[in-house]
Subunit: 195 residues, 2 copies
């Protein structure tokens, strides 16, 4: 038994601990007791910061969504031909995923059992649809192959990007950085493996 430490958490640092526990145990499998133990402060200290675990979930997936939707507002995602916008969004989405790894990991794992989870899933779908719209526009402009169904291509593109949360470990020996991963994703997705 460790003694509870004095509560020196900020909203952000408490969130970081909570996200780690959510990713480890699953959101459903996490109790306030687990959060209290991981943070090393009492449950009532946690309640001083937030109303409960759903508020922590909301803030965490909110942070991931803000990062992702932020990409769509950047000039590179709004100017030029659709394929250039799509390439930009692919690159930046990968970079945001790596910069906000635990938060995006959590976002990709929510399952829809609570109001917050359903909201997060709805927002994710919205993001996917925005990107899907870019694919459609790029096909119409003749820059993207028309022989792959747009919905299927969107799924596979996000499949490739989102899979990064399964294996990317920023501090692993020989770890590549976000930019290198984003480069590889863009090359693979747009030009393929073939020379």
């Amino acid at each position: 038994m460790t003694m509870p430490k004095r509560d020196t958490y900020t909203p952000d640092s408490l969130l970081a601990v909570a996200v780690e526990v959510f990713n480890e145990r699953g959101y459903d499998g996490t109790s306030m007791e687990h959060l209290s133990r991981a943070a090393g402060i009492s449950k009532s200290s946690i309640y001083h910061h937030v109303r409960g675990k759903e508020e922590l979930l909301h803030r965490a997936v909110g942070r991931a969504l803000e990062g992702l939707f932020g990409v769509l507002e950047e000039p590179g995602a709004r100017e030029g031909r659709a394929i250039e916008q799509l390439e930009y969004v692919t690159r930046r989405t990968t970079e945001v995923l790596i910069a906000e790894l635990p938060y995006v990991t959590l976002l990709l794992r929510v399952r829809g059992n609570t109001k917050t989870e359903r909201w997060a899933m709805e927002r994710r779908r919205e993001f996917d649809q925005r990107v899907s719209g870019l694919l459609k526009a790029a096909v119409a402009e003749g820059d993207l192959r028309a022989d792959v169904d747009v919905r299927l291509a969107t799924r596979l593109l996000f499949g490739m990007i989102n899979s990064i949360v399964e294996w990317y470990r920023p501090n692993a020996r020989g770890a590549v950085d976000g930019e290198q991963v984003a480069d590889a994703v863009v090359r693979l997705a747009f030009d393929g493996l073939r020379t």
Copy 2:
């Protein structure tokens, strides 16, 4: 409370029920009681078929691995230039994933808490390494771009393929079949989205 039905299970049909429960609840979260309820037969009837849930897991992931490693033994995976073998393996892996969807889904979700899970993860790594070897050979033969790290390319390729278990539902309205998905994967992975 439903009455237990007479045990008319074969090893395969019992396995199919178990895999569904494992995928739904997670292997760790599944008890013999859950399996008994899902199958509608008593626990002792299940023990008549298998020694316990780990044997069911072993058979289930074994079936997935057999399908995947089987691909590597096919002539298309052993003859011709490395890039042709790689393309063949990519296509067939996708087809096997879709044909054996619940089994491969389970394989991709095992986490390493039991001997069987660690064995499955080891075999998965072995499979990935075989494919990674093909990528390396294809780069050496000049058919694959050399500006993407082979390990990273292998991760992203499997990321794209494996993500299919997250969204593919064979009986959904307008569902594409395994061949169509495999076509899209091969086009995207080898030639990219760009025209």
